[in-house]
């Protein structure tokens, strides 16, 4: 049953992506991207990734849509007609996709518990977590404690992005 819901949601994602490619009114494309983010959050819920689903819904469907609409307000909202035919990129894309699909044939199936990925460090964190940190949410414990340096770097990246946008877009007026 889980697999059925999973497959239906993923098919809907693929359909929306075709919409994002073909539609030329950028306002509609931004709204489609917001719907895509919500669907992606639902897929992540089905894949048991609850923290990630909340973050994707808040960030992808919330902030990204607001920023894209802000940028659209400052630029144009209609994409121009394509000038060159897109046969070569289409061939490159389809060829890459075919090779990748051939490569996934040897990967383990969906949802198995004895793959090398699920019996390595992740399982180790699940076993050690309660004794060492006492935090029930393993994702928060790993994010803030076991892999705290990565989170420090990520916070620095957000800081850098904020400074970068300020440098590019801030208007310095008399009262600043």
């Amino acid at each position: 049953m889980e697999q059925l819901i999973n497959m239906v949601l993923l098919t809907l994602l693929a359909v929306i992506t075709i919409g994002i490619i073909r539609v030329r009114n950028l306002f509609a494309v931004v709204v489609l991207a917001g719907a895509y983010s919500f669907l992606m959050a639902s897929v992540m819920m089905v894949l048991d990734a609850v923290d990630v689903a909340m973050t994707e819904a808040a960030v992808g469907a919330g902030i990204s849509t607001v920023l894209a609409l802000g940028a659209l307000h400052l630029t144009k909202t209609e994409e121009a007609a394509p000038r060159f035919s897109a046969i070569l990129p289409l061939f490159v894309a389809v060829g890459t996709g075919a090779m990748l699909i051939y490569g996934t044939w040897g990967l383990p199936g969906f949802g198995l518990a004895d793959t090398p990925m699920n019996t390595g460090v992740g399982l180790d964190y699940l076993n050690r977590n309660m004794a060492e940190t006492g935090i029930p949410n393993v994702v928060t414990a790993v994010l803030a404690s076991y892999r705290g340096f990565d989170t420090l770097g990520e916070t620095a990246v957000i800081f850098t992005a904020g400074i970068g946008v300020l440098l590019l877009l801030k208007r310095f007026t008399a009262e600043d």
């Binding site: 940028a71 060492e132 949410n137 928060t140 208007r171």
Partner: protein, 140 residues
Amino acid sequence: MRLDTILRVCTKLFIPFIFIFALYVQFHGDFGPGGGFQAGIIVAAGVVLYAIIYGLNAAQRAVPKRLVEFLIPLGVLIFAGVGVWGLLIGDNYLEYNNLSHGNQPHGQERGVFWVEIGVLVTVSSTMITIFYAFAGRGRQ
């Protein structure tokens, strides 16, 4: 009756609950999904909603630009400061084991608490600043 009124009244009712929900997500990040990033984005979304309905000037009177620009590096400093706190006690950088008089789970929870506060401050103020920058660029 202008339709504006419905939007303004509903927004006024919603915004306190949005901020309380952000605080709930922040502090319950230990026991369920949540944490600093999600809470920071929800705070920013509350301020953006206020700016959309009431206008950018009203939002910048409520949450001034200089305040949020000051808060962006403060979050990173809080995070790095927790690491230095570990150094001052005598442990490694960003080690939380002894932050609570030797009790390891309590020390870990204290370290994670302060680290998530740092993340909340930086993420919320950065998103609000970016929104102000985009919205303020259009007016000449």
